[in-house]
Amino acid sequence: MLELFLGVLTAMGGFVEIGELTFAINAGSKFGYGLLWVAGVGTIGIIVYGEMAGRVAAVRGQPVFNLIRERVGFDAGLVTLMAAVAVNVLTCAAEIGAIALVWQLFVDWPYRAWVAVAFVFLVLAVWVLPFQWIERVFGLGGLLLVVFLVIAVMEAPDLGEVGAAFMPHVPALESTQEYLLYAYYTVALLSSIMLPYEVYFYSSGAVEDRWKPTDVRRNRLIVVLGFVLGSLLCVALIIVGSQFFGPRHVEPQLPGVVATSAAAHFGVAGLLIAIGGMFFAFAGAAIETALSAAYGIAQFFGWPWGRFRPPREASRFTIAWLAVFALATAVILTGVDPVSVVEYSIVFSVVILPLTYLPLLLVAGDRRVMGEYANGPIARALGWLYMGIVTVAALAAIPLLILTHGGQG
């Protein structure tokens, strides 16, 4: 029971990262409650595929990239792997940059010095902490972001309007450009909630934790409760964007600006809680993206992998995650804006979603492979529905990125 409780809390605390924080707050600031329905749609999507990934890992002991190579073949699998690793490096770079920005708010060292410290910190954290502790320390620390849930309630939103906004709709906007920007935010917010690395990490984690078919029920509870509670944070950020930042004409790009909403309600204590929550959330996401990339590479090429193995026994896996951290740090040390990096990584993530999720859907629905644990009619229907949704989003993502000048307007 305690394991389940901690699993739910870590899933909740690990739900938000810099991309989701930026897109959710800005979505609220720009469009009010107009994108709340996307949070609902995205949450059901990540539940559907997260549950399948955990179930397949528990029943077959196979993580996602193993399935991708098995189902779509070496060539298409390799392209998916390359794109996934590229997106993971970009996301990891953005998280490292965001960690440096957050630490600067506590101690006024140069940004690049904090980037270097963040690199050392993350490498040490992964090297020293056992897998479960990595999940728990950063997942539970990320729960400090619940302060935004409290702020959302204190901002007294119209609950009728909030409830109605969960019905998929397109609000009346002033111009074609605004509609394009709304479409861009729809795709980006959906992508930030359904980020593929979450599924890679979750399924690999299930294998690391040596889940068995008896864990299928536990998997379902963790995924449903953890992701629903996590998405409450996303909803809260949209509401804070709409109620607090929108009327003040602020479209925040920096984590510190987002934290001013907590300071406005709770003073210095609120500020410190918000910044602390952001640090744990960003650090957790940086670790998850680096490990996800290493998991993907090792699983695809059949190398020994896993944090449960000593580095000597999984040397190529260890080198892979160290290389991802090093590459991501090098990217952010060039001086590129972490917020711009995260915008590109989020949009490019949606492009690889269909290639990531299709093999999972095929295996989870295959009775010869999964036996009694194969997808039932609801999982099958939702799986194909979301395959359609992410395919449309993947096709629209790049044209929208260009038409909205990189999501700026």
């Binding site: 298409a76 600067q104 006024d108 450009q177 920096l254 300071a263 492009v351 000048h405």
Partner: protein, 139 residues
């Protein structure tokens, strides 16, 4: 394999277009961003004046904002010779003042009372930028 390479190529092309397309040459985007940065500085000034923010936070946050404002100021200087030059000419002095006030806010972070006059001036800048950014929007 060909489909996969097309996807990777499309991603590279999009990055190239988005990165080299200089979106800041689109004046309405620059003005919208400037309005937001001004409003962010104003929030920091408010928080500092009310002692809701730590001095280090104020120093670091204004230091993070300043180069972003400077970049917008430079974009406005470029835009003065193009379409919408009148709006750019109106906004550029505001961006210069905004930059100076944001830097002052950081320099005087230890003294919350110093933030009050800065807050008033920032508020006036935001009030001028809101209609300017709105009228520049297409459609």
């Amino acid at each position: 394999m060909a489909v996969g390479l097309s996807i990777v190529g499309a991603l590279g092309f999009a990055t190239f277009v988005a990165a080299t397309g200089n979106p800041r040459s689109t004046l309405y985007i620059t003005l919208g961003e400037l309005r937001s940065r001004a409003a962010e500085s104003l929030e920091i000034a408010r928080g500092s004046a009310a002692s809701r923010l730590t001095p280090n936070f104020v120093r670091a946050q204004t230091a993070q904002l300043a180069p972003r404002i400077a970049s917008l100021r430079d974009a406005l200087a470029d835009a003065e010779t193009h379409d919408g030059g009148a709006d750019a000419r109106t906004a550029r002095p505001l961006s210069e003042r905004l930059l100076a006030l944001t830097q002052q806010l950081g320099e005087r972070a230890e003294t919350p009372s110093a933030a009050t006059p800065i807050e008033r001036e920032l508020s006036a800048i935001v009030e001028r930028l809101v209609p300017l950014a709105r009228s520049a929007r297409p459609g």
